[in-house]
């Protein structure tokens, strides 16, 4: 890395190794400062007050929206703030589900989905009598265009797919699948929660209909995320939540909605978090996503090369494309192993990673996941490998 980014992250401590960015990233000081600045200096509501601090809050909130819209090549009217990717995907499910589907229609998804990109569609399918279909994965666990073509048919109304798997780090050929899905008149909803931290996203070039991501995985605050939607579609949709601020006129028996994106932002939004996310995006742009991806991937590859030498390690994604490694230690349940790592001050994740179907695909009961990001370094990789060896030795000695 051209500069030591680690010093921007106050939570990093000596002898502690954080390898759980795929669950939530650490936050740089300038994001923390932006959030604090709001609460200390202009902590009032947006779009309502006619006084200076409210104008300032509104201005910063909308400036953040502009930054984020530019970041994904969307228009500000297509960039809706939500509580996170989960909220964004549920918004799309409720709105699209209410208006665009009828019994017998098909929804296509995959085994690689995070539960936030799976359960909304499972629910919709059950409630509306739709057929939920899964794209068969390749042997190594990838979504391919060829397999997508096998299940996306003229009956398919919705295709809901992850851009990057949160367990395996594999990149979905989303642009190609969007093209095919559109040829079948299906709407494509993309979960970009893992992609947005590594891959420059251009929603126009992808031609995706909806795209969701969370702030807290991309150096931003918790409680904020984004739902991108094509303007033409968003305009057709009824609002998800109704309430304060999102209306233009309220009568006794009817109301009129504000223009986009406000139609989809009812009530007081997470203002500080939106402003913080704007800061996080500017920080990501300053470092450069390509550089972050190269760095994270290099660290993951270094670790994988060594893990492959260890007879007691089972790797599930030796060809990971980002910073994520999914693995198990032979004969040691992941939840036991992770306790040893934690004891050695290494934070990684065990279990299903909110994507239980991935474990089902591999026929395992959960796995360990280490995820590397821009603030990790070679020393972290070395420590991770050292503790991996120690974990195996420890549990073997115990009789595992």
């Amino acid at each position: 890395m051209s500069r030591n980014w680690r010093k921007d992250f106050p939570q990093l401590k000596p002898n502690h190794v954080y390898l759980d960015t795929a669950a939530s990233s650490l936050k740089p000081q300038l994001v923390i400062d932006a959030v604090t600045d709001y609460y200390q200096n202009y902590s009032v509501n947006i779009h309502r007050g006619m006084y200076q601090s409210s104008l300032e809050a509104t201005e910063k909130y909308e400036a953040a929206r502009q930054v984020i819209a530019d970041f994904i090549h969307a228009d500000v009217t297509e960039t809706i703030f939500t509580r996170g990717a989960t909220s964004a995907l549920n918004l799309v499910m409720y709105c699209v589900g209410r208006q665009f589907v009828k019994p017998g229609d098909e929804i296509v998804t995959s085994y690689l989905e995070h539960h936030s990109s799976l359960l909304p569609w499972q629910q919709l399918a059950r409630e509306k009598g739709l057929n939920l279909k899964y794209i068969p994965l390749t042997k190594s666990g990838r979504i391919t265009l060829a397999n997508a073509k096998k299940v996306i048919t003229d009956q398919t109304k919705i295709v809901a797919l992850t851009y990057v798997s949160n367990v395996l780090g594999y990149v979905t050929p989303i642009k190609e699948i969007v093209e095919w899905a559109h040829s079948k008149s299906a709407i494509v909803i993309c979960d970009a929660a893992q992609a947005v931290t590594h891959i420059p996203i251009d929603v126009k070039a992808l031609d995706v209909d909806f795209l969701a991501f969370s702030g807290h995985k991309m150096l931003g605050p918790t409680g904020i995320g984004v739902c991108y939607g094509k303007k033409a579609l968003l305009e057709q949709l009824e609002p998800f939540e109704t309430g304060g601020d999102m209306n233009d006129h309220v009568g006794l028996y009817e109301a009129e909605w504000k223009d986009l994106p406000y139609k989809f932002e009812a009530g007081t939004m997470p203002i500080a978090e939106a402003i913080g996310l704007g800061e996080a995006v500017m920080y990501l742009q300053k470092v450069g996503l390509e550089q972050i991806d190269r760095h994270s991937h290099k660290l993951a590859k270094m670790a994988i090369a060594q893990l492959m030498e260890m007879a007691d390690v089972i790797l599930y994604n030796p060809k990971t494309e980002g910073g994520i490694i999914a693995f198990n230690l032979k004969g040691i349940p992941p939840h036991d192993a992770v306790t040893f790592y934690a004891d050695q001050q290494i934070a990684l994740r065990s279990g299903y990673h909110c994507a239980e179907l991935v474990s089902r695909f591999f026929g395992i009961n959960g796995c360990l996941r280490a995820s590397f990001y821009l603030y990790n370094n070679k020393a972290d990789v070395e420590r991770f490998l050292e503790v991996t060896r120690a974990t195996i030795t420890y549990f073997r000695r115990k009789g595992f």
Binding site: P334, H335, T339, D343
Partner: protein
Amino acid sequence: MAELDNLYKAVILEHFKHPRNKGLLNDATYKTHRIKNPSCGDDITIQSKVENHQIVDCRFEGVGCSICLASASVLTEIAIGKETSDAKKVADNYLKMIRNEAFDESIDLEEAEVFSGVKVFPARIKCASIAWQAFLKTVFDEDEKQ
């Protein structure tokens, strides 16, 4: 490391590798209850058969970590043959012990005592709890009072 050694005692390993009373029966005289911990993959089902306030059989099935599976195995051995009221006392005290709460030390926890090391690993309390919680459900059909 000392705390880890206190968690992974030999008895626990022994039950993990050689579980007792494993495998469920298709028998309507048993009551069955399943508890999962979806975040980590622990998934335990307990079956109990009660006759005249006595637990005449207790079985388990499941997947998960060593602490979870060993606790289920140990539980079944302790439960079988006990009066239900005595089993409840052990269960309640055991759950207090692993949560690091005050408990009645006059009650013999028998082999379940080996799980005392769990209390310093808050992330593992659930692993050691779910078999016993499911057991209480099979015998008393009530949720454990916390």
